[in-house]
């Protein structure tokens, strides 16, 4: 067997385009038989309104700390070897990747569970806010109940 590579957990904010293909290659590990990746993508509609673009604002220092705490917790709690997550900030067009979570594990159960945990936790507690811009010119901060 190949030398055991280091386990990895990394969360970052990214003001530029998230390079999903490159992040996927960073998950490669000869011990891992399963990779699960989630991409959150800017949709053209929300709550029945046509969305033209959106902007993410982050409380950056805290977002990086909370995000890193989430991927570190996932690496401890699930039988996975690599977790890489990035979240965009700034202005995004329809179709752009807003958030990416990639997980590599020996088996798919843990890879699916850890990926789901990380995206759910990001949406729950990383201080990032979405400002939606609508086709009719209006804009609104999204503050879910």
């Amino acid at each position: 067997m190949a030398t055991l590579g280091a386990r990895v957990s990394r969360f970052g904010l990214n003001a530029a385009t998230i390079d999903v293909d490159a992040l996927r290659r960073e998950l490669e590990d000869p011990h891992c038989g399963a990779v699960v990746a989630f991409d959150g993508i800017v949709r053209d509609h929300h709550g029945g309104r046509a969305v033209s673009e959106l902007r993410y604002e982050a409380y950056a220092a805290m977002a990086e700390r909370e995000g890193q705490a989430i991927v570190d917790a996932a690496l401890r709690e699930f039988a996975v070897r690599r977790i890489i997550a990035e979240h965009r900030t700034g202005l995004l067009a329809i179709g752009e990747v807003a958030v990416h979570v990639g997980v590599a594990a020996a088996h798919r159960d843990a890879a699916f569970a850890a990926c789901r945990f990380v995206i759910d936790q990001i949406k729950e507690r990383v201080p990032i806010w979405k400002h939606e811009h609508y086709a009719d010119g209006a804009a609104e901060w999204i503050h879910p109940d």
Binding site: G40, Y56, E57, A58, Y59, A61, M62, A63, R65, E66, H87, A98, V99, I119, I122, K123, E124, R125, V126, P127, I128, W129, K130, H131, W141, I142, H143, P144, D145
Partner: protein
């Protein structure tokens, strides 16, 4: 005590500013009530989370001189 406030998202829009420094003697809840009245924040305190120096803390936590205090509206990343 002197506190450094930072505002994000709808609270920043309402405050018309990214940050301000305030003198305040009470707890975080009384500070939020005061600022909500001053700036017209639409969010009740029950929907806001408190962060002090970049970490979530309970509303019961005492504030200290120089703390960075942020009232976090419901987040919508992802």
């Amino acid at each position: 005590m002197r506190l450094q406030l930072r505002y994000f998202a709808s609270l920043r829009d309402a405050a018309g500013s990214e940050s301000e420094n305030v003198e305040h003697a009470g707890d975080a809840a009384s500070l939020y009530a005061l600022l909500a009245a001053r700036h017209g924040f639409a969010l009740p305190q029950s929907r806001v989370r408190l962060a002090v120096n970049g970490a979530f803390v309970p509303w019961s936590q005492a504030l200290h001189e120089g703390d960075e205090v942020v009232f976090l509206p419901p987040v919508s990343g992802g």
